[in-house]
Symmetry: D2
Subunit: 337 residues, 4 copies
């Protein structure tokens, strides 16, 4: 940690800062300039409350130099985390593709879509039983009934199931049916929920909050990891910017950036990330070229009839075509699909 103080700060205030640092068992190195005083803090800076130091008279800036997350960092674990579920791996050489409708609508339709995405090469079926919707009057999902349909689709196709959980009170229920629990973008900083999924023994797909910095994203993962669940899959799904030709701005830059500082796998959701089905194929290819470990795509037998997100959903035919186009891109960057 580095503490910058005004060069004209009274001596006692400088000593006060140094004492606060030393009281926590850390060392303080003082460098005096005419305009500014720099105090280099050596040791586990996480013990010091930045806000409190900033509140001391004369202190102008306090800059942490260590990463705020531990378990999520490459320093903590050098090798890539590879999550294995049955014969599917996420984070290894293989690109993991999750596909399916935004919401589970009825048993027949989810089965139909499941079979089609399976045939095209997907290994994991996505579908919402509990849907976060911007307004209270929209369709909010079938609840446990939807979970049962998903389980039925798994039985019949062998696909794994990923589905969202929104409430601390239903974590147990969702975990009973799902292979992977999804935390949606709006809940990335719903800390009680993160802690709850941190206590179960199933992989968690954590979507980046549409407002979240890289550090905040990994700190949300850290909440889950710190409860004992080490199977976290990160997911970029678009951030809020001024740009308005897409619903969100899919930020692929985070893929190589995460790979540098964290061992966790990261996949991309180009459907929500762009909100436009016509951009999904190009951005899917770009995601893989950028180093993503997988994709999660909204696919529906008949997008026009999808009860939600119809405009960003590709058809099962378009999905099959896309899967063929993705293969050479994956191979071009040393991956398989």
């Amino acid at each position: 940690m580095i503490i910058v103080m005004d060069g004209k700060t009274p001596e006692e205030k400088i000593k006060h800062v140094i004492k606060r640092v030393e009281d926590e068992g850390l060392k303080a190195h003082l460098s005096r300039g005419t305009e500014k005083i720099i105090i280099g803090v050596i040791g586990d800076e996480r013990k010091i409350k930045i806000d409190q130091i900033k509140a001391i008279e004369g202190v102008e800036q306090v800059m942490p130099i260590l990463k705020p997350y531990k378990l999520a960092s490459r320093e903590f674990k050098k090798e890539d985390t590879i999550i294995e579920i049955d014969d599917v791996t996420i984070g290894g050489k293989e690109i993991a593709v999750m596909a399916g409708p935004c919401a589970v609508e009825d048993e027949e339709r989810i089965l139909e879509t499941a079979k089609a995405v399976k045939k095209a090469g997907a290994k994991i079926l996505r579908g919402g039983a509990y849907k976060p919707r911007t307004g209270p009057y929209a369709f909010h999902g079938l609840g446990e009934e939807g979970l049962r349909y998903l389980a039925r689709a798994r039985e019949q196709t062998g696909l794994l199931i990923v589905t969202e959980v929104m409430d601390t009170r239903t974590v147990g229920l969702v975990a009973k049916y799902a292979d992977i629990l999804q935390i949606g973008t709006r809940n990335m900083q719903n800390y009680p929920l993160l802690r709850e999924v941190g206590k179960i023994d199933k992989p968690v797909l954590l979507k980046r909050g549409m407002w979240a910095t890289l550090d905040e994203f990994l700190l949300a993962a850290e909440y889950i990891l710190s409860e004992g669940n080490r199977k976290v899959i990160l997911c970029e799904r678009g951030i809020r910017t001024f740009s308005n030709f897409t619903r969100n701005t899919l930020d692929l830059n985070i893929i190589p950036a995460i790979k540098k500082v964290s061992h966790l796998p990261i996949i991309v959701d180009p459907s929500h990330g762009t909100g436009r089905k016509d951009l999904v194929p190009a951005m899917s290819k770009a995601s893989i070229a950028a180093g993503a470990d997988g994709l999660i795509l909204e696919v529906h037998k008949n997008p026009e009839l999808a009860v939600s997100d119809a405009d960003q959903t590709i058809s099962t035919e378009e999905f099959a075509k896309l899967m063929k186009e993705l293969k050479p891109v994956a191979e071009a960057v040393g991956r398989t699909l």
Copy 2:
């Protein structure tokens, strides 16, 4: 609702769109241009799934023209909502000031601060017993113990209590102690939580999500209102932008904009909104001049020792001085303080 289609769309697709509209009991008015076809939809457009229409071949844009929220709108309720708790009103002529520390730390300190802010003119005491923190290793509040200290401060000072609730499972507990329940910025789209506080009979202070548009903000309020709780207080607390001299960009524009479309009261949190105690006085005055119904401020007897948000917390002395400065500003815009 307006549907724009490509001018070269085959006739059958145009008819298909019109049929979809009429099937919902609405009327469709067709205007044909050479480049584009415009279909004006007359009736309760909320019945139509925009995404589905967008997914039809030939459809280029679907633009809703009615507001997506109802109960929160001025159309639904013309007069300003004034929330009365004991002798305090929020949304009326009087500016409501809520003040106190970020987190409740211990009984003595919260009492000390409570007495000081009471003396300076605050009517409501803020203080967190459950704290959402970006990282899992920070101080997360005293829980029910903190709530008890707040209740004790109420007994001794007569101040009302506003405190945050983060988990559907603790809504009942927090409601037992608090006069106003706060939903924090990170939970603005935590829909199960919104529904839960919508079922209780106490006012809810709903903070704007740092990523939320005006419509999303009012739709979050709509979740609470639609469950039966009509006592919602909106709160602007800064949004995420590229600008980096403040922690967030406090967006005062939303005050007059909300007043135009909604009857709900709106207050401002300049402490979180700027993240800088040196900007709090100016932005407090600006908030009131812009038409805010109140302020929520972080105040601590000794900011340097505050366990969280110390750098954006003003001292009780600074608060007393500010209250004096706010009075003439309130009067200049026809309010009292």
Copy 3:
């Protein structure tokens, strides 16, 4: 400046960094931790090229601690800069109000508006003769003819004239007619233009780029100041964010923030800042309460017929009413109007 290196960096690389620092005549203080090495640089850090240091192996972060601007800073000049033109002051106790149409349309209309805003209390007339328009097919202003009409309006009303200059080749021409030269938001980083207006002896109204940080804003001012022109008036006019109920997000936070680090006066443009005439009155009051030194407002005799920005332009009647409402707000914060 602070340089943070990886704790495992080979000794020779550390020495290399220290040598680079010392070669520029600065001192380097080394603090060794296990995870990180901190090098505190004491002296005029502006001599060091940050990018080059960052490019050295082992260097993880380089953090400047001095402000990147000099002449614009409070350190350079303690007292507020007060710009005097005839009997008008900008930056002093008096609030300076500039008002007029977006574009000069014809002689009669500009005169009419000039007389009305003068009567209501404005001291400065705004009006564009050269208009930056997003598309090439819009009205781009009357050019020199427009400047002549403005001069005519000055003669007849005694109002000062502020008008925009967009091209290095017309700075001389505009300076011949205008009392204050305006640099528009799109040109905030048009460096040849900044240098050119830095060479003339008339005040410059510098609008914040809609993408500009506080530091970039003051560095743009520094370009003008460093050429010798010390009469720079800053102007907040809204930034680009995700928020869509306003055309831009008027960022009033910058007013007290600028006052802290710079001696330059700062005014606000709520017309462009919000893009909504219905928000102009509230945001004008808020600007003054936040400490702004003035306002620049779009006012037109008949907004419906304004050739540009009609939707954010208030009528002369609305302006007269607003001026009356602003007076008590100005007085509440110790200013006059």
Copy 4:
């Protein structure tokens, strides 16, 4: 264009709007609902001043439905624009790679880098003779001397030259030396400059303003096209967002989005787009996979000594390695390199 009016608007105001529309030779179709009145405008809506209509009492929204640009649109020109300079094509099957230092520093160094990038497969040399720098005290380029060094490098290597022009007064000079003129991000809305490069007969590389929407980007291109220069190459280079792990947020979504609405070629600048050399390889691959027509990369013989942008500049060795990795990605999406 669609005009939405309040359902309770007096009849005369509705007629007034219709008259305004018809006065411009367009047709108005009226649809009356209880809450809102919709007026569909058929014809060349660009004749109508949106702002003026918005300023009429009762008008709530005015929504254009035609694209604001013409010459830049796919409607105007169906086939992709392919720009040919000598034996290099931009916008065709081949991926165009432009590489070189941020700034031209001296003759020897630019030659050295030119030879290295040529050998690795680049066809175009980038290098700044006029440099836009955030502060006035930084290195601003060698001016014409730098242009001469670039010309020398072209003679010796056969590489084409792309270099920036910042001032209307030097367009002729830069055009004398350069094969492609670059308009930098800060000047994307410097309209006099756009018009000036629109009058010359050399291709223009137009960088997206870091604040620009897709429409504004294409409208800037329209300025150049409308002056007669049809050789415009678009370039994505990162936008301003809250995200802080990159200097800018490289927005690859714009590549497929531009391809849909415009015939112009688009390339990507991952060096400025991310500001981090460690992200350049992954984002270069992603750009090509997303459909970009080329790349512009900062490459230096010894990045640590580059006078500007050293931290985002890759070495000539890294560039050679990257070119090899890009080849299979280009082929995977049907392109050559």
